[in-house]
């Protein structure tokens, strides 16, 4: 009898297993609750797969980009603003995976672990979210893109606030076009090219090669490169965009001389170039707020000399994310203090309680030494002053680099990356226009229009 009852203590082992399971269950609810609640099938928030009730999203001037009224989601009254801010705000069916309405859905619905979505049911509205974007600037940028595909992003490199983030093609969420899935005009329409796009960087990558040269070749400024229109590595040729004759390091960057940079890349070798690329955040995952960026890729592990030459001028297999490129430029502009861009600023509950969602943060993935940042800043300023001309960017004291990324098929992508060196207008910019040829001709005017709108 005693033995029998003592054996009952074995049940405590089962009890322990039960408690472990219970702990795992409530832990999962605690950790994943917000994510699960935001699922499109949750009928507290969504109706027929689209967001019905949730908080509003405002731009930096408290202009409502989207809000809910009577169980309906209503976007800004201006159709161009709707299109320009669509990728930042996100659609109501979570097709745009980086949109605030998808990523911050738990905040918008007012979810918290203690109350669930009770506040949403009670007040019929969740938390409001404030962005750092300026809807009017985005509208200007969207118009300047003029129907071409691409992206433009502008941020304050001292605070990290993104003022402009536009990805095209876009569509009007209030009048969704019917032919979106079939028409070429809307290829990749749900992709925010600024956060999730990957482009061949073309000559803008010379900034990375130049930084590596500054780090590793002490006498780089006294070097002289001769360009006769191409550079033979022994196993192939790197073609240049012109015949530049004898150029020094600064002139090579001014003219974007491929021959010179192919020589530099080969002198550095794949190990050193990869090391610099890694310091600058290539091949590394990064997030802005809760939103995942796609990681830029640089891999020359199996490259021939010619391949390495091409890689040094931003061709080969190298791919860059525009937001990442903007961060590098911001780091150069800010003298080596790399500030991460962000655009989701704060969350305000129905009772007025403010929660900070984004703040000025230095990047942990992009590292530039202050000396090299200063040198690069001078070189990039020289590009605009001596070569592109300040008349293209009046009153901005612009520094920058163009890029014309050649593709296997079709017209090249146009790049412009740069920043205003003026103390009063600390803005860095990245602009990619797909299949539009020369970087300066296509991207340059768009950058100027947007920068004038912000700084003017």
């Amino acid at each position: 009898m005693n033995n029998t009852t003592k054996r009952a203590y074995v049940l405590y082992a089962f009890l322990l297993a039960f408690l472990v399971g219970l702990g795992a269950m409530f832990y999962a609810f605690y950790v994943h609750g917000g994510e699960w609640t935001s699922n499109v099938v949750n009928r507290h928030i969504y109706k027929n797969g689209t967001i019905a009730s949730a908080g509003a999203v405002y731009d930096r001037n408290k202009q409502a980009l989207v809000y809910s009224r009577d169980g309906k989601r209503i976007y800004n009254s201006d159709p161009t603003v709707r299109k320009a801010t669509l990728h930042a705000v996100g659609d109501t069916s979570s097709f745009i995976a980086t949109g605030v309405q998808h990523v911050y859905n738990a905040s918008l619905s007012g979810y918290d672990f203690v109350n669930g979505v009770y506040n949403l049911k009670k007040y019929n509205r969740g938390n409001d979210i404030y962005l750092t974007l300026d809807a009017e600037v985005c509208k200007t940028a969207y118009k300047a893109m003029n129907g071409r595909k691409g992206t433009i992003g502008v941020y304050n490199y001292k605070t990290g606030e993104l003022v402009c983030m536009v990805s095209t093609p876009s569509y009007d969420p209030e009048n969704k076009p019917k032919n979106m899935d079939s028409s070429d005009k809307y290829t990749g329409v749900y992709l925010n090219r600024f956060l999730s796009g990957l482009y061949t960087p073309g000559s803008t990558f010379k900034i990375v090669t130049a930084i590596s040269a500054l780090e590793n070749i002490p006498d780089i400024y006294s070097r002289e490169f001769s360009c006769n229109g191409s550079y033979s590595t022994g196993d192939g040729k790197v073609i240049c965009n012109g015949v530049h004759g004898k150029v020094d390091f600064e002139e090579a960057l001014n003219h974007s001389c491929n021959s010179a940079f192919a020589v530099i890349a080969n002198e550095l070798g794949s190990a050193k170039l990869t090391a610099t690329a890694s310091e600058l955040g290539f091949n590394t995952r990064e997030k802005i707020g809760e939103i995942n960026l796609v990681k830029s890729r640089f891999n020359v592990s199996s490259a021939s000399k010619t391949d390495l030459g091409w890689a040094g001028i931003g061709q080969y297999t190298t791919l860059v994310n525009p937001c990442h490129m903007l961060t590098i430029l911001g780091g150069i502009a800010n003298g080596g203090t790399v500030v991460k861009p962000y655009f989701v600023k704060s969350m305000v509950s129905p009772s007025g309680e403010v929660t900070e969602l984004g703040r000025t943060e230095t990047s942990k993935t992009v590292v530039i030494s202050p000396e090299n940042a200063e040198k690069m800043k001078k070189l990039l300023r020289s590009n605009v002053k001596n070569y592109y001309s300040d008349s293209r960017f009046p009153g901005l004291e612009m520094c920058g680099k163009t890029g014309t990324a050649q593709l296997d098929t079709g017209e090249s992508h146009s790049w412009f990356v740069g920043f205003s060196a003026k103390e009063s207008t600390p803005y860095a910019v990245v602009c990619v226009v797909e299949n539009s040829g020369s970087g300066l001709a296509a991207a340059g005017p768009i950058v100027n229009t947007v920068m004038q709108k912000i700084c003017g």
Binding site: M1, N2, N3, T4, T5, R7, A8, Y9, V10, L11, Y12, F14, L15, F18, L19, G21, L22, A24, M25, F26, A28, F29, H32, G33, G34, W36, T37, N39, V41, N42, R43, H44, Y111, D112, F113, V114, N115, G116, V117, Y118, K121
Partner: protein, 501 residues
């Protein structure tokens, strides 16, 4: 004496009032959901009347002073009734009838379990009836939601799940046959019975219930034999068998393919789990309020997914308290098992409490994708008559092991019993020094004394309960009132757990 005072002080009447207040608040929600629903009002008023009727009769007429399990059962049945009524108002009356049937089962089973001699006689008939019921089920059942575990009667108006009733028989037979003789023959008989039950459930494709039966079998077998190696062997054999079934029957394997992949099957096989997770977290710790949930619209919301409804509408805190109550019931059962009159009660209470917690685990972890979904019910809370009857029946097993349940029998505690001197607090052995009561004559030798009746008439017989030892001393030769000669005295010495015959 302080212990006794503490034990007596617990005011079950007050506890019942608390339960009633809770129920008055929660019952108003479905009653007033669409204006005043007079029918639901009647159902809830009837339910509260039954609760109080039971309490008053048991406390006043039968001098019962422990109501832990009844209070829990009333509370949980009330929560289940509220949810069923608020989702399907038409089912409220049916659910109330289920609760009444459950309470009736509880009372009848308690009366039967009081008499171990009757239990022994009923053992074989119950075993045959149980197997017969399952065979009948297999013969009659129609295909129903992937399993064949339902019998439909009266033109579809009543459907019963025999396996729920057989759960009670399984424990009844298991505890009784293994209690009596540890002979190979007895164990073999029980093994055949167990294989019959589990096999029938496999044929019905009710794997959740089959697993529950297997788990219960392991508890009972281990409690009796204490042989870890044999039990491990049985478990390994079962696991191998299960693996072979999964290997040779891909249709079975596909049932479990959703496990840990529910979000990839959000609108088909993972629908129930994902909806439970989504709406449970939508409810938060405090819940959205009765009737404000959305999980109620999902298929099988008031049976399999009712845990999610509790989380969403009543809050995860309430849900946590419900499931943790089952954990405490298991602790209670293990503790009471230490002080039972016979090994039969110890095995029955542990098996019943283990079964309850195991079924609870399968239900709540199944719908939250911590374990594969097996579609078993949450005891007392889920809608359904068979499940309700089974839950109440299991509580009867647990309650029967508590020595306070049959106070008249407890009066026969002898000085050689570990519980002597009587202290009716559960699971607590008295730490008071064992001072033998004054003796007029030397105690009789226990071994020669086969007849309980004569044992009881010695002066060492100290009654338990309201009567003081003083009054007992005055009439040492009298049998305690209400005591029948067939009642079995409590003595553990040298009996090694077998009930005296």
């Amino acid at each position: 004496m302080a212990q006794e005072a503490l034990n007596k002080k617990f005011n079950w009447g007050l506890m019942m009032i608390f339960v009633s207040v809770f129920q008055l608040i929660t019952f108003t929600a479905p009653i007033l959901a669409d204006g005043f629903n007079i029918e639901l009002f009647g159902v809830f008023a009837g339910y509260m009347a039954i609760e109080w009727l039971y309490f008053i009769i048991a406390a006043a007429a039968f001098k019962q002073n422990n109501f832990e399990l009844e209070v829990i059962a009333f509370l949980f049945s009330g929560i289940g009734l509220t949810i069923s009524a608020s989702v399907y108002a038409d089912f409220a009356l049916k659910q109330l009838i289920s609760i009444i049937l459950g309470l009736f089962t509880f009372i009848v089973l308690l009366a039967v379990l009081r008499r171990t001699d009757v239990v022994m006689k009923l053992r074989m008939p119950v075993a045959f009836a149980a197997v017969g019921l399952l065979v009948l089920n297999l013969a009659l059942a129609k295909y129903n939601n992937g399993a064949l575990n339902w019998i439909t009667l009266a033109g579809g108006r009543i459907s019963i799940q025999p396996s729920e009733i057989v759960k009670l028989a399984f424990i009844f037979v298991g505890a009784a046959s293994l209690d009596k003789l540890q002979s190979t023959k007895s164990i073999f008989k029980y093994l055949v019975f167990s294989i019959g039950c589990v096999g029938a459930l496999f044929l019905m494709r009710d794997f959740g219930t089959a697993l529950i039966f297997f788990f219960t079998f392991v508890i009972i077998a281990f409690m009796r034999s204490g042989d870890i190696r044999t039990i491990a062997l049985v478990c390994v054999a079962a696991a191998l068998g299960a693996m072979m079934i999964i290997y040779f029957r891909p249709t079975v394997a596909s049932r479990f393919s959703t496990y840990r992949h529910v979000w990839e099957h959000i609108n088909d096989t993972g629908m129930q789990q994902t909806r439970t997770l989504i709406y449970s977290s939508s409810g938060g710790l405090l819940g959205l309020g009765i009737g404000n949930g959305k999980l109620r619209d999902v298929f099988a919301s008031t049976t399999d997914l009712i845990f999610g409804i509790v989380c969403e509408e009543w809050g995860m805190l309430t849900a946590f308290m419900i499931v943790i109550a089952y954990a405490f019931i298991l602790i209670y059962a293990v503790k009471t098992a230490r002080t039972t009159r016979s090994a039969f009660y110890a095995i029955a209470t542990c098996a019943a409490a283990g079964l309850l917690l195991f079924q609870t685990s399968l239900n709540i972890f199944g719908v939250t994708d911590i374990l594969p979904l097996t579609g078993v019910t949450l005891p007392f809370i889920s809608r359904g008559g068979s499940s309700m009857i089974c839950s109440w029946g299991l509580f009867a097993f647990i309650k029967s092991a508590d020595i306070r349940t049959y106070p008249m029998l407890s009066k026969t505690i002898l000085p050689d019993h570990p519980l002597y001197p009587p202290d009716v607090r559960v699971g607590r052995r008295s730490r008071r020094p064992l001072t033998p009561p004054p003796v007029d004559e030397p105690p009789k030798k226990k071994r020669t004394d086969k007849k309980p009746q004569s044992t009881r008439q010695t002066s060492r017989d100290i009654p338990v309960g309201k009567k003081s030892t003083g009054s007992a001393k005055k009439s040492p030769v009298k049998t305690a009132p209400g005591q029948s000669p067939r009642d079995i005295p409590i003595s553990r010495k040298k009996t090694d757990g077998r009930a005296k015959r």
